[in-house]
Symmetry: C2
Subunit: 133 residues, 2 copies
DNA sequence: TCCTTTCGAGTACAAATGTACTCAATTCAT
DNA sequence: ATGAATTGAGTACATTTGTACTCGAAAGGA
């Protein structure tokens, strides 16, 4: 089991997202990959990278003079933890009200509803399969 | 339309949750209502209340020597904004992957699946009703 | 070779956040 | 009435976060 690492801030999350996208790269490449609409300074990216490494979210290996970074934690893992944290914070850990809010508070296209249907049906299927065993 | 107020921190959120629960009350009562497992100091609650008022999340009215506070923003509103922020941050605004993660990353009881079904069916119903008009 | 660009490493610093103390006024129980 | 508890108001302070600058080494182009 991994240690539980410190949580990350919004800015750090953005940099991590960029790194997940490019899989690996130096600060320059990460900088390129960060959502441009954020208009994040190179130095700022640099700082976040440093902090992320300190927090154990990514590892680096030297290659010549520069450093290649790589995420040390999979996206799904971080996302899961963030969701858990969020559901606990806002709904005392009860995820259904969360889903309800999610779908209630925005307009959803028919396609999305169908996708939702599919997701839930799959769940139900799995559950029935399990019951049958 | 309301101004967009500053966002609130975890601690502030907890105090706001407490206030939503008791509807209204002085700092003492809010303090009592805060999730005890957080073990939040009276003074800390006091500070959060002050900051929440400054941020426009709650209003107060004097009653004698003490002050009665009341939430100025409905829970649903705050929750919606928080969810939006979260979905944007983690899923670039795309809520389906969010739901998928939500249901994938935990064990869900049959009852909960049925509830989910109900929620989604209701959605579908609404959508069809709308189409019919 | 000399200039420009690129990095890493370190430092800076204000705002936000978590957490708490002080003090003065007041209220309450004995 | 007097000491204890409560409350509002203000202050304190370390940590985290957002944002950025400096400096020096290396690398690459002219």
């Amino acid at each position: 089991m991994e240690e539980k690492r410190p949580s990350i801030s919004r800015g750090e999350t953005e940099v991590l997202k960029a790194l997940w996208q490019i899989e690996q790269g130096g600060v320059g490449e990460i900088y390129e990959a960060v959502d441009p609409s954020l208009d994040m300074d190179y130095s700022t990216v640099q700082t976040y990278v440093r902090r992320l490494e300190a927090k154990g979210y990514l590892t680096s290996q030297r290659r010549g003079r520069s450093k290649i970074y790589e995420a040390a934690i999979r996206r799904a893992q971080v996302v899961r933890e963030a969701i858990d944290e969020f559901v606990h914070r806002m709904f005392d850990g009860d995820f259904l009200p969360m889903v309800k809010h999610l779908v209630d508070s925005r307009e959803i296209s028919s396609d999305e509803i169908d996708d939702l249907m599919r997701i839930v049906n799959e769940l139900k299927q799995d559950q029935e399969d399990k019951d049958a065993s």
